[in-house]
């Protein structure tokens, strides 16, 4: 039986699989135990490594000594205690580790894994009372269902009040003139203007001159001056005219009289 070989494998695998840590090993393999059981050459190697390392920790010690050397020189009971602790922690909530073989009844089909799981962590229920951090905001007096019910009730009661007025035409009427015809009845009566009797336009012969044709009136460029010429007796003497008197015509000084 190679018990130490078994321990080497068990402890090495526990460290490699991160099931155990070097601190777990040094918790049992104390410096006092090392000083008592570790050979001097291994101590020399350990001291050399520690002096050359920037930081001395359990990892350095275990790596320097090595698990095979630990299992070789440290008492097996210590190594076994270390392995037992690791196994107990790894088993966690499983059944307590028996030290003697398990005997089961042939007829009883009770599996060994009937141990109930460990109780779940009791979580502290969060207090419902909010922490007053900012300004106090009053808590809603109604629940959401109450608010919804109140809104529905409001809609039912407000529905008759919000009846719509008859729809009116929002757009201008079409340009058919129908509206103007109906509006003409409301207009104030107006006097009908009798059209002036216009003389029937004389039919012109192609040889007649166009009356609107300036060139055809027979008025030359210099004749219009003679046509607009007036005689002296046709001029109005504004100084003798009464129509031009203003309200200040009573004044004797003649001021304000417009000439």
């Amino acid at each position: 039986m190679n018990l130490k070989g078994f321990f080497v494998t068990t402890l090495s695998q526990a460290l490699d699989l991160a099931i155990a840590t070097p601190e777990d090993v040094l918790r049992h393999v104390t410096p006092d135990l090392l000083s008592q059981h570790l050979p001097r050459p291994l101590w020399a190697r350990l001291l050399t490594a520690c002096m050359g390392a920037p930081r001395v920790d359990a990892q350095l010690i275990v790596d320097t000594i090595g698990v095979p050397n630990l299992c070789e020189h440290i008492p097996v009971s210590v190594i076994w205690t270390c392995i037992t602790e690791i196994a107990q922690r790894a088993l966690g909530g499983e059944s307590a580790v028996p030290t003697r073989p398990v005997f089961t009844r042939p007829s009883g089909a009770v599996p060994l894994s009937m141990t109930p799981p460990p109780p779940a962590e009791q979580r502290v229920a969060a207090s419902s009372a909010p922490v007053a951090v900012g300004p106090t905001i009053p808590a809603p007096a109604q629940s959401l269902s109450d608010v919804v019910a109140a809104l529905e009730a409001d809609e039912r009661t407000a529905a008759p009040l919000r009846s719509r007025s008859p729809t009116q035409q929002r757009f201008r009427g079409s340009s058919t003139g129908i509206g103007r015809l109906s509006a003409a009845a409301n207009r104030r009566p107006q006097a009908t203007a009798s059209p002036a009797a216009e003389p029937a336009p004389a039919r012109r012969s192609p040889g007649d001159a166009d009356p609107y044709d300036e060139t055809a009136t027979g008025v030359g460029k210099d004749d219009w001056k003679s046509a607009l010429a007036v005689e002296d007796e046709q001029l109005v003497d504004w100084s003798a005219a009464d129509e031009t008197l203003t309200s200040n015509e009573t004044r004797d000084d003649g001021v304000g009289r417009k000439r």
Binding site: N2, S77, S95, T99, P101, A109, S113
Partner: protein
């Protein structure tokens, strides 16, 4: 530690214990009883165990562990059962805890 790591560690311990003769296959089956095996091994593995035994004409602990390897033991059986096997072997070897 994850469950995979623990499973790998127990597989290695079982393998090492068998290799180093810390315990024998019959010691394993003293804990991994037929009830335990029947309760935890999957049907296909049970079938293979039975087929192997039928082929060889006997069902011995060694032949069972040839089929139900340490990896499969650690995968399907409760680790407490495996640890009980290891602890019992340590106790038989005279290894005790605490005393130096």
């Amino acid at each position: 530690m994850s469950s995979d790591q623990r499973q790998a560690w127990f597989a290695k311990m079982m393998e090492s214990g068998l290799e180093n003769q810390v315990f024998a296959p019959q010691d394993v089956l003293a804990h991994a009883t037929p009830d335990v095996l029947a309760s935890h091994l999957p049907p296909e593995l049970l079938s293979r165990v039975l087929a192997s035994s039928l082929a060889s004409g006997s069902m011995t602990p060694e032949r069972v562990l040839e089929t139900v390897t340490p990896e499969l033991l650690a995968k399907h059986l409760p680790h407490g059962v495996l640890w009980a096997c290891i602890a019992a072997a340590a106790a038989r070897a005279g290894v005790t805890t605490g005393a130096v």
